[in-house]
Symmetry: C2
Subunit: 236 residues, 2 copies
DNA sequence: ACCTGAACACCGTTCAAGT
DNA sequence: ACCTGAACACCGTTCAAGT
């Protein structure tokens, strides 16, 4: 029973990589708001100030965190990058975007972080370079390829910032009381005729699906809208 | 010189509206991060705790702030809402979105706030109801109209979350030293051929414009891409 | 009724001190 | 060299106390 290793594994030296992994762990468990210098240090069995040796501050930590996620996307997309036939730009781009989406689904906090800390970083530049190259090889003009990158926005990385959620508390809250819900719907149809009709239309078919809307299907619909528009401009 | 009004105008009673106006004022001046219970109270010549009588907490304050902005958008869009000819859905939608964009340009902090506090509120429901109604009147199916709302995402409200900024520090930082910039561009074209070509292409025409990219033009390009895609689905 | 003071449990970050 | 303790200037929020 000599001085064996203690329960807290402080022996391994602290590294930037370990700090980032700890931060990702906290984010996965407690959300982005839970990521705190002190909470990250806790995971590592260390005091908050020890982190400052490997990270210049919280901003740097979060920047590095989003960079790591984008790197993960780049690796996932590296496999099938260049379409054999340049004319296959559409399925190539589509697959790339849906691969990025799949990676982000493993890190629910990443989209918000990309929004606030998404400056143009090396990993992001690499991602958009591959993205634009596919378009150029397919014969798109430089201008159109450039515009396309802007047009996709965050959708190029597999997520879309939506505000529109038909299954919102404002609509669902009275679900427990069917009569009140009907009265609400009546009041709704006076002031919000389209929303009311849509909710009525949805509830007829929603029995089969889990929620009101299928996020993946909605995402792909928007994606195809953009791809169609792009197709029209290919030879302009 | 009797007890006239003091310099600090505390006499007017505190109201929810005054609290919200003060918060917007702080946001306009110091950005979203500057909006603090204490800073808002300061503007009103009052202690932070006095706000809790009119606002249930900071979350409530921010929710109310975005609600006010969306109301402003709704008012701005109320003028020319229903197209005379239902077939004019495209210009009607386009105008609506660009009007929303113009309103948001007066509140630079609003997009970020819509992202974090954009739950489906009464004002937002009203906005999307008008939006969807235009589509329905034009003959779009309920499904397509519903999908369209998702597809536009925040773009329906006049802004797009972009990550792609060609004029980023990574590219521009060596601008002061032309030789180093050229060396960087050479290194860039090895690893980032598309980005390098695009930057070269941009700098030839950028002399006429202010920055690298014209935000408004890029926004409208993406908007028209989506409208084109929607047009294709009109009669499906 | 309306506002304030003092306090609590948090933040990020600094700096001198420990080992 | 690497980590810690104590401290600073902030947060949002509570609660009893003032007027």
């Amino acid at each position: 029973m000599g001085g064996g290793t203690t329960r807290t594994p402080r022996r391994r030296p602290l590294t930037r990589a370990r700090v980032l992994r700890a931060a990702a762990e906290v984010a996965d468990r407690s959300g982005l708001a839970g990521v705190t210098m002190r909470s990250v240090a806790d995971v590592l069995g260390v005091e908050a100030m020890a982190l400052y040796r490997h990270v210049s501050g919280k901003n740097d930590l979060l920047d590095a965190l989003v960079e790591a996620v984008v790197e993960e996307i780049n690796e996932a997309c590296a496999a099938d990058d260049t379409p054999a036939d340049p004319d296959d730009w559409r399925p190539a781009l589509r697959r790339r975007i849906l691969t990025a989406r799949a990676v982000l689904q493993g890190h629910p906090w990443a989209p918000a972080l990309l929004g606030s800390h998404g400056t143009m970083s090396p990993a992001l530049l690499r991602y958009f370079d591959r993205f634009g190259s596919i378009l150029r090889r397919a014969g798109f003009s430089m201008d159109t390829a450039h515009h396309a990158l802007h047009a996709f926005g965050t959708r190029a990385l597999g997520f879309s910032s939506e505000l529109f959620q038909p299954g919102s508390p404002a609509i669902e809250e009275t679900e427990a009381d069917p009569e009140a819900a009907l009265a609400d719907l009546a009041a709704l149809s006076a002031e919000l005729p389209f929303i009311a009709a849509m909710v009525g239309h949805l509830s007829h078919e929603a029995a089969s699906t889990i929620g009101w809307c299928d996020d993946q299907a909605e995402f792909e619909f928007g994606l195809d809208l953009l791809l169609d528009g792009l197709e029209l401009r290919r030879s302009r």
